[in-house]
Symmetry: D2
Subunit: 337 residues, 4 copies
């Protein structure tokens, strides 16, 4: 961490500040120039608060050199992490396809989709029981009934289930969910993250619509710091000025996250695109970028879907996609789970 | 709402779609052109789901003409709303100044700041007991002890208190808080919004860092739809590409919200700027834009603050600001509460 | 095009507006509802000015249904265009790799890079003679001397040359350049676009840092409307809030442009990433997304480069990249030019 | 400037790099820590190229401490600059209102608007003769005929004229224009900026739609470095994700620019808003933020305007605005020119 002091900072005050910094267990390298004076903080600066430094009126600026996350950091954990989701290892070298409807609507709908996606090769079943909807007038999910249907679909197909949690008060109800999803709008719901840290469940953490990659890694750090190492990251499109697409898939996030962190990262092309025909080209880029998996919305009858029908594939389209995914995963010398 | 059909949509399917739409209680005006066919949906389309329409493979596009929010909409509620916060009416014509520390740190700190901001003319006391921090290693607030100190500061100064809630599980603990704040990162925590709708407390709802104004109004709609009419909106800076400031104050949001909605809107220049010297110029623009109030961070010793010290004013700076605010509020022919 | 009228627009004024619209050669379908009245404009609305309609005080909103570009539009030109660049056809089915230094620095440098990239399989040589630099104190290019060296490198290697034009006054000097590049910062330099429309040269048009895809197609339309059909589009990263990368490669732009337009589109991963190690993963995503080519910065000694050294590959790295590109282009069943 | 070296950089290579840096006339303070080694570059680093440093494979990162602009920098020019525009001094303490039509359409139109805005108190007349339009099918301006009409309007009203230049080839035609405007899309047309640096004309430089404040100041630096000190900056809205407004007025840019630079800065609320009713509230915020002036679109008959009618005020609305502007400028203790 580098602290840039103001040009005319008094020596006594500089010394006092340096004393306070040293008490936090870090060393300082001091460089006084004609225009600015620089303090180089050396050692473990994870706990040194940038805001506290910036508030000093002799400080002109503060720049972090090392990352503020530690447990999520590849520097201190060079090997790729693999997350065990009901016996399947998600991470570098394998490829996961999580598929299913945006929301669970009925037993018939869910079983039809679940059976179809399994037949096509999906490795996990997704389905929303509790739906975070922008409008209070939109369908909010079947709630606990939806969870029950997901368990039923797991029993029938053998696929592990992935579903979204809305609040830490639901943890008991989610006790036998295989992978708990944290939605983009809850990426910085820190209460929820803390409680998930006390669980041992695999957590699928989606990136917020305008969250930086560093913020995503800091949210993962909340879960890891609580003792839960089972975090899977998910990029699902960010918000930009472009109007032709719903969200802008940040494909660079895959190589950047892979370099900065040891955690697996998957792509949700359905939410990024917002429209079904783009799911296939975006899936291709995800595989090529090095992602560890995909999360795809599939509905037996997209035009009657209660939510996000426009971006859902029907089972035939999904089957067609999976044939392409299989060839590409093999090309990348990875194993489809 | 306008539905644009694809050029070669079959007549039978168009008729079937029109039938389904009519069953939702809206009329349709039909225009067939050489290049596209357009359905104009007329009536109350609040409950018609755009996604459902987009999922039809004969639909090329859907455009909303009327707003998807109703209770927050000025069209159906032309008079300005005024929210009663412990006897003070917040809304058009009055001007509120909420001031206090980012986080409650100790009894001495809080009482010193509270007494000072009251003396300078603040009308409410803010202070964080539960802090949403990006890093799990940052100070997370004094929690319930912080709430206790806020009550004590209210007893001493008589100022109503404003503090941030993190989860719907805290509602009992917040029962005697005067204004409950929903932070930017929780703007779309829909579970929390629903529960706040069942309360009668004034809610200060902050705009998310990349939320559109429509999304902010939809989040307000969640609270209003639950039966709680006491919503105050707060703009606190959005995320853009600019690097010289922490967030970009979206000053246009004030006139836009005032035109679209009857709810009061205040500005938080401290979080928008991220740096203390900019609080004063941004406060001036907020008053000129027509905002109904300000929310300002004040700390007795910013450079020792446990959180957001860089953007906090000290009591002398705040007193100086309030002298300017008083003149400008009078110029706008409003009453400082 | 749809025109939404204000709720209480007077009939006489509505009729007058409709008359004016019809005089522009388009038909109108009229729908009067309880809340709004809608005019559906049918026919060729390319020349109808949205701003003119919006200025009418009986108009609430205007929405375009059909695209404002015509010559660049796939709807009116369903076959993919192929641009002949010195005998090589750039477009769907083939794959082009344009490589070379950010800026031409000396005869030795350029010849070394040109020979190396040719040996590795590049199909065109790029090199900047005139450099658009943010700072007036940065190296501005060898200018006409740089053009001379590019011609020399073409003579030696046989590779067609691509270089950036800065102003329409340079057209004579660029007469024997094989592909003229328009940089991101000049994407809306309309004077330059118009003059390029009067040329027959292939034009490589880069997307501006915050330009929408529609604006990129409208800039292409300027060149096409002047009579020059030889336009190649280039996506090179857009500006977002993310700080870990220089620009954010908008990979969705490839399938979107391919759907909306018949023009070829290539990707510049070097400028998108801003850092050499990301060029390879981004190149992989470009091929998978369906791009028609790549534009890559290569320098014989990146750490001594006068410009953009950080993002340049050295010849060994480029050779390694090309081996991977060759395999992937074959996988996509395309022909490397 | 700070250079952060990679953890295991070899000593010989570090020494070689330091030698190369010192040859550029700057001193180095060296700090070796356990995790990283830091070079603090001290002295005038304006000419040290960040890209060159980043390209070294022993360099992990480079951070600028001092600004890359010098002539535009308030640090080296603490007094506010005042630009003499045909005898009126634009800058801190005065307030300028430039008004007129988006484009010059006819003698009658221009004279009617010019006479009206003068009567209401405008201090300069704006009007576009050459129009940068997104679509080649939109009205492109009256060109040289427009310039002639502007001269005529100046003769009649005595108001100095402001009009936009599109290319450096037009400099002779603009020889008697009082203030030459560089549009947002040309902010980084470096050829044009260089030529304007050789003129002595006042230049009104508009910020690009997604340009950072630093880039705006670097573009000003191009003009200043050429020898022309007469630069007026103009903020006109930036591009964000918000859809309810055309551009997002970055009001913070005013205090930031005033702190970083000595150059005057004015606001264009018409382009920021894109809609006439927002011009007045945004103008109020501009005055409160400390801007040195406004640039407002006025049309005698906005609904018949050939360009940007939706955002134009009519003369009555402008007169009403000016009454408010006058009161507010007096409140700020500035002089309306």
């Amino acid at each position: 961490m580098i602290v840039i002091l103001k040009p005319r900072a008094e020596e006594a005050r500089v010394n006092a500040l340096m004393e306070q910094i040293k008490q936090q267990g870090v060393d300082i390298h001091f460089s006084r120039g004609t225009q600015e004076t620089i303090l180089g903080l050396v050692g473990d600066t994870t706990h040194v608060d940038e805001d506290w430094l910036r508030a000093s009126d002799i400080v002109a600026d503060v720049r972090r050199v090392s990352e503020p996350y530690k447990l999520a950091n590849r520097r201190f954990h060079p090997q790729d992490s693999h997350i065990d989701a009901a016996g399947r290892l998600i991470g570098e070298g394998t490829f996961t396809v999580i598929a299913g409807p945006c929301s669970v609507e009925s037993e018939a709908q869910l079983l039809e989709v679940a059976t179809a996606v399994k037949a096509s090769g999906a490795t996990c079943l997704r389905g929303g029981a509790f739906k975070p909807r922008t409008s209070p007038y939109s369908f909010q999910g079947l709630e606990n009934e939806g969870l029950k249907l997901l368990r039923e679909a797991r029993r029938v197909t053998g696929l592990p289930i992935v579903t979204e949690i809305m609040s830490e008060t639901q943890l008991d109800d989610f006790a036998d969910v295989d992978i708990i999803q944290v939605g983009a709008r809850n990426m910085q719901n820190f209460r929820l993250l803390k409680e998930l840290g006390h669980s041992k469940k695999p957590i699928l953490l989606k990136r917020g619509l305008s969250s930086t990659i560093e913020e995503l890694l800091m949210s993962a750090e909340y879960i890891l710091a609580g003792g839960n190492e089972n975090v899977i990251l998910c990029e699902r499109g960010i918000r930009t000025f472009e109007k032709m697409i719903r969200n802008n898939l940040d494909i660079s996030a895959v190589p950047v996250i892979k370099q900065k962190s040891h955690l697996p990262v998957i792509i949700d092309p359905s939410h990024a695109a917002g429209i079904a025909w783009m799911v296939e080209p975006l899936s291709r880029t995800a595989i090529a970028a090095g992602a560890d998996g995909l999360m795809i919305e599939v509905h037996n009858n997209p035009k009657a879907a209660l939510c996000d029908g426009a971006q859902s594939l029907n089972p035939q389209q999904f089957d067609h996609l999976m044939q392409d995914v299989r060839r590409r995963v093999a090309f990348e010398e990875k194993t489809l789970l």
